[in-house]
Structures are given as structure tokens and as C-alpha cells.
């Protein structure tokens, strides 16, 4: 059972949260210009990484805010938490090559 540090409410138990999949997947600006492959890539294809993984969480039963978490999916250790819209801390990006 994870203990997730909500950037607004502090550490709360996992059952208050909902994980919203991989972080930093931006919706394309103009989907109509994309090929089917590119659209499928945006829709379905994911990093699904073993190791440090950048993911989104929402404090569903708390403040209802979304935020990002960098978590090691092999050990469940949380290595960083950062707000929506910001980039992962440098110390993390070196551990994950995005894409």
C-alpha cells in the first residue's frame, strides 16, 4: 500500500488516489494532420517502464488535483513528485529516457 505525497495535502494513503497512467503525453495540437499510426501512438502506445516511471496521479478523494510522480515500478519507491505542467526534476530525467 503506497503512501503518496500529494503536493497539496501531504502524504496520504494510496486508496485516496487514482493513478492516471503515464505522464507527459501531450494531446496533439492538430490531430487531423496526423497519420493513423501517429494517432494510435498517442492513443494507445505507452512507455510502461520497469524502473523509474513518470506517471500522473489525481487525489481523487482529497483535493482532486492532478500531479506527477516519478516512481520506481520495480520497488515502488517514489523518487519525485512535481506539479502538473512542470518538467520532471533533472535528477530524474537522467534516469529515464523519455520515449
Amino acid at each position: 500500500m503506497l503512501l503518496i505525497p500529494c503536493p497539496y495535502c501531504g502524504e496520504r494513503e494510496e486508496s485516496e488516489f487514482h493513478q492516471g497512467g503515464e505522464a507527459h503525453i501531450e494531446r496533439p495540437k492538430d490531430p487531423n494532420k496526423m497519420t493513423d499510426e501517429e494517432w494510435a501512438d498517442y492513443l494507445f502506445f505507452r512507455d510502461n517502464r520497469k524502473g523509474v516511471y513518470l506517471e500522473r496521479w489525481v487525489h481523487r478523494h482529497g483535493c482532486r488535483r492532478w500531479f506527477n510522480v516519478a516512481r520506481d515500478t520495480a520497488t515502488n519507491q517514489i523518487v519525485a513528485v512535481y506539479k502538473m505542467g512542470s518538467k520532471p526534476p533533472k535528477s530524474i530525467t537522467s534516469r529515464v529516457t523519455m520515449k
Binding site: Y8, C9, G10, R12, E13, S15, E16, H61, G62, C63, R64, R65
Partner: protein, 206 residues
């Protein structure tokens, strides 16, 4: 015509007044529980980053905008709960919400805000007594130990299988704000959890 239509609280059908009258007081009762009737509530959204926003709200409400999980104002009067970085819950005594709502809309109109009446959606269950905290701890994963949580603090969290906003109003008292459709579930759950400590229904809470 209006007064022929009665307002009903979500727990009205439990006839808590009658229960309170019939049940004898007992010094050993560990938990007191009752419904605070029909408080007014306004959900307020807005950008804290605008330095004028807080003061503008305070003028109308009479209480400052607290941080997340903090409250301002007195639990008996108009008080404000910090729900999120840009979200507050203003709780008012019965009937006072409409004016505050109207005034807020006027004042905060110039900012990007949303002011929404929500009191009808909710009810407030007051839980008090020596074992109030133990009772809550059976279903709430938040650490409520006096070292880390105390009067004037609040938390949006869960109680068993319901969402709740919990506001500690005194050393041994909590206001539990839940959606009205969950009221009976939460009440039943609380009474069940408190059973081993002895439960007494209190009424007349405003």
C-alpha cells in the same frame, strides 16, 4: 405558502430527536453523534495568486482564505475550509448562505472564480467524545493524532467507503461533511464503529 413546505435533512427519517429523548445520558458514553441541521455551504474556486482575491473574499465572508487542510472562522459561525490550492468551502449558519453567495458573486466577479451553493448537497455529522477519534480512525486513513492534527484542521479524505471532509472543531469533536446521498450509510457506519465505546445521539446542533 413557503412555510408549508418543510425542509428535510438527509437523516430526517431516522427520527434522531426521538432517539435522543429516549436514550438516557450515561457518563461512560464514549461517542456523541448528531446531525448539524441544514448549514449553508458555498463552494468557492479562485486564483490565490491574485493578491486582491483573498482580501475581497474576506470582506464578504469575514474570514480569511485558509491554506489547504486548514480552516478559518469559528465552527459555529461562518467558517472556511481549505479544500485545495484553489478551492474553499464556506460554511454558514442556516439561512445565511444566500446573501453571502450573492455578495461573493458581486465582489469576486472581477476575478476568475466560481461561486456555487452546495449546502443542499451535503450534511454535517458531528462526532464528539472521548472516543470520537478512535471511531473515525477505524475508517479513515489520515493520521489524526494530536501531535499532527488538531482543532482548526480539516482534511478531505475517505471514511470507509464514502468520501468525507473532516473538520476537527475541538479537542474531541469533529464535523464530518458528507454528500447527502451517503448520509445514511455514513451514519450507520459511525454508529456501528462507535458501538463498543457507547453511543449517544445528540440533537439541537446548529
Amino acid at each position: 405558502m413557503a412555510n408549508t413546505y418543510l425542509r428535510q435533512t438527509p437523516l430526517a427519517h431516522l427520527h434522531l430527536d426521538a432517539r435522543a429523548a429516549n436514550e438516557a445520558a450515561d457518563a461512560t458514553t464514549g461517542v456523541h453523534i448528531g446531525e448539524r441541521l441544514l448549514l449553508g455551504m458555498i463552494n468557492l474556486r479562485g486564483q490565490r495568486s491574485n493578491p486582491d482575491f483573498g482580501p475581497a473574499v474576506k470582506k464578504v465572508v469575514g474570514a480569511a482564505l485558509p491554506d489547504v487542510n486548514k480552516t478559518s472562522g469559528k465552527p459555529e459561525g461562518v467558517h472556511v475550509l481549505g479544500l485545495g490550492p484553489d478551492e474553499w468551502l464556506i460554511i454558514t449558519p442556516t439561512g445565511e448562505e444566500a446573501d453571502i453567495h450573492a455578495n461573493l458573486e458581486k465582489v469576486v466577479g472581477e476575478f476568475h472564480t466560481a461561486v456555487t451553493l452546495t449546502g443542499e448537497s451535503m450534511t454535517v455529522i458531528r462526532l464528539a467524545g472521548a472516543h470520537a477519534r478512535d471511531t473515525l480512525a477505524k475508517g479513515c486513513p489520515v493520521d489524526m493524532h494530536p501531535r499532527v492534527f488538531g482543532p482548526g484542521q480539516c482534511a478531505q479524505t475517505i471514511l470507509a467507503r464514502a468520501d468525507m471532509t473532516m473538520h476537527q472543531t475541538a479537542d474531541d469533536a469533529y464535523d464530518i461533511i458528507v454528500r447527502r446521498s451517503f448520509a445514511e450509510y455514513v451514519w450507520t457506519w459511525l454508529e456501528d464503529a462507535a458501538r463498543e465505546y457507547g453511543v449517544r445521539v445528540i440533537t439541537g446542533l446548529r
